[in-house]
């Protein structure tokens, strides 16, 4: 016991040797918590504890922490807790949502944009570079928004359209169809490149065009008021000079019908095209009224539209049109 007192005293004074420490360790190990407690309490209750070394600043720090955990105002602590919980939920949700939206956005960007028209439809589109395209019926235009205005302006096209290409000398505008490729820098022209037609045609209004046949690789430069024709079978490119007024006659206008009677429609078409139309069907459907648009420059398209509306099949031979019953 005396040994323990001495060792303990030396320990408290920091005058132990390593050997003595080992002894003290051994002694204390033998003691129960109660015995240690009794010994300590005796020393505690005595009045000779030196507090001069205690840093006041640390005591103040400790007091602050004590106050913080014991005295937080009740009326606000529930609010704080609620806010903490809400934040813990909302913040991850926000992060996940923005990731998701960002990904979705990127995905949208990488998709291809397709604009197409059905029979009898027209469409106007403005491309990201400001180029304006008027699509005629049964035409399709494709481009990739992500890459469109970077090093080149590439579109895939089939059908007929009028192009008003925004001038940009650094980024050429490329149109690729099944048979031809068109390269321009800033131009206005009409391109007809329908897969079902035996020829592809371009009529240039303004600017300059490089016209390439994809099969023969032949490349020709077109000047304004010229028309270039590619014979798909022979691969021959022909350039002819033209009158600008007839560049895109289909853009001029359509015949628009509102609740029109069949006979009136037939008469209007006959006079517009200078054809004669013969109907071989007796069907009562012809009593129906028609509302729709019919082109003024494409007789076969015009007849197809009417035919579809009235379940008739048109047959065109020169200036004679026959409408017979569809099956």
């Amino acid at each position: 016991m005396i040994m323990l007192n001495i060792l303990e005293e030396k320990y408290i004074q920091n005058k132990l040797t390593a050997e003595e420490l080992k002894q003290l360790r051994h002694e204390v190990q033998q003691l129960s918590d109660e015995s240690i407690s009794t010994r300590m309490q005796a020393r505690w209750m005595a009045n000779d504890i030196d507090t001069s070394d205690v840093p006041v600043s640390r005591l103040d720090q400790i007091k602050k922490r004590i106050d913080a955990s014991s005295f937080s105002s009740n009326s606000y602590s529930w609010l704080r807790r609620t806010a903490q919980i809400a934040a813990a939920i909302i913040i991850p949700v926000l992060i996940i949502t923005s990731f998701y939206l960002y990904r979705e956005n990127k995905n949208l960007g990488t998709n291809e944009m397709i604009v197409s028209t059905n029979i009898g439809e027209r469409a106007n589109i403005t491309l990201p570079d400001g180029t304006h395209v008027t699509l005629n019926s049964e035409s399709k235009l494709k481009y990739a928004p992500q890459t469109f205005n970077k090093s080149e302006r590439l579109i895939h096209f089939e059908g007929e359209a009028y192009f008003d290409v925004k001038k940009n000398h650094d980024i050429p505008f490329l149109i690729r169809t099944t048979d031809v490729q068109i390269k321009v820098v800033g131009t206005k022209f009409n391109l007809s490149a329908r897969d079902k037609n035996p020829v592809a045609e371009l009529v240039l209004e303004e600017g300059k065009v490089l016209f390439t046949s994809l099969s023969s690789k032949e490349c020709r430069e077109i000047s304004p008021n010229q028309k270039v024709t590619l014979d798909k079978k022979t691969g021959v490119i022909t350039i002819t000079n033209m009158n600008t007024q007839s560049i895109s006659p289909w853009r001029k206008g359509d015949l628009v019908f509102h609740n029109a009677r069949f006979t009136d429609i037939i008469h209007t078409i006959e006079s517009n095209y200078g054809v004669s139309i013969n109907i071989t069907s007796n069907s009562a459907i012809q009593k129906d009224l028609f509302s729709g648009t019919v082109p003024t420059n494409n007789i076969s398209e015009a007849m197809e539209i009417i035919g579809k509306a009235y379940h008739l099949t048109p047959t065109i031979v020169n200036k004679n049109v026959t409408l017979s019953e569809s099956y």
Partner: protein, 184 residues
């Protein structure tokens, strides 16, 4: 004042803190040697005091009550400290070194010692660090260490004494800085 505390007076609580906190701190420090640990106990004691203010019987027992609230953590930490190999290193360092640390005003604190030891250990090679750690901190015998690291015992002894030399050199250098700081 105790009565006021029982009624929930914060002023009374503050006064009691001013009266006793330093004493609690100094007393626990005698046993625990680490300022970090002591601060934790002081905080804990007074938080408990406020939580249990109703159970105080009279003024005389306030001092005793404080001890009761401290003793759990105090005794556990005391036991742990005695068994701590780092503390043994601390004690032997101050015994064996010629550095004049008998003068208590220049005494290096245990917390700082531990931190410096960690830093000095980084200066050892991997092998030395392993050996030092195994011998001194894990308290393995030289033979056990030799077996564990597939070295012969003499190598272990040599590496160990080399490590100790390096560490003491390192620590001596950093003590100089610490001493200068303390004297500012």
């Amino acid at each position: 004042m105790v009565r006021q505390l029982k009624n929930g007076s914060r002023t009374a609580f503050n006064t009691i803190y001013d009266m006793y906190a330093a004493r609690v701190y100094a007393f626990c420090f005698q046993y625990i040697k680490s300022r970090q640990d002591v601060e934790e106990i002081v905080e804990d004691v007074f938080i408990k005091l406020w939580q249990n203010k109703n159970t105080i019987r009279n003024e005389n027992s306030l001092q005793a009550l404080l001890f009761i609230m401290a003793k759990g953590l105090l005794i556990d930490t005391y036991r742990a400290r005695l068994n701590e190999p780092e503390y043994e290193e601390y004690v032997s360092y101050f015994n064996e070194s010629s550095f004049s640390v008998q003068d208590t005003s220049k005494k290096i604190e245990y917390d700082d010692f531990c931190r410096e030891l960690q830093r000095a250990m980084k200066k050892l090679s991997d092998t030395q660090r392993h050996i030092f750690s195994a011998c001194k901190l894990q308290q393995l015998s030289n033979k056990e260490v030799a077996d564990k690291y597939a070295l012969n015992e003499q190598t272990v002894k040599n590496q160990l004494s080399l490590s100790l030399k390096i560490l003491r050199e390192e620590l001596k250098n950093s003590w100089i800085w610490i001493v200068i700081l303390l004297n500012c």
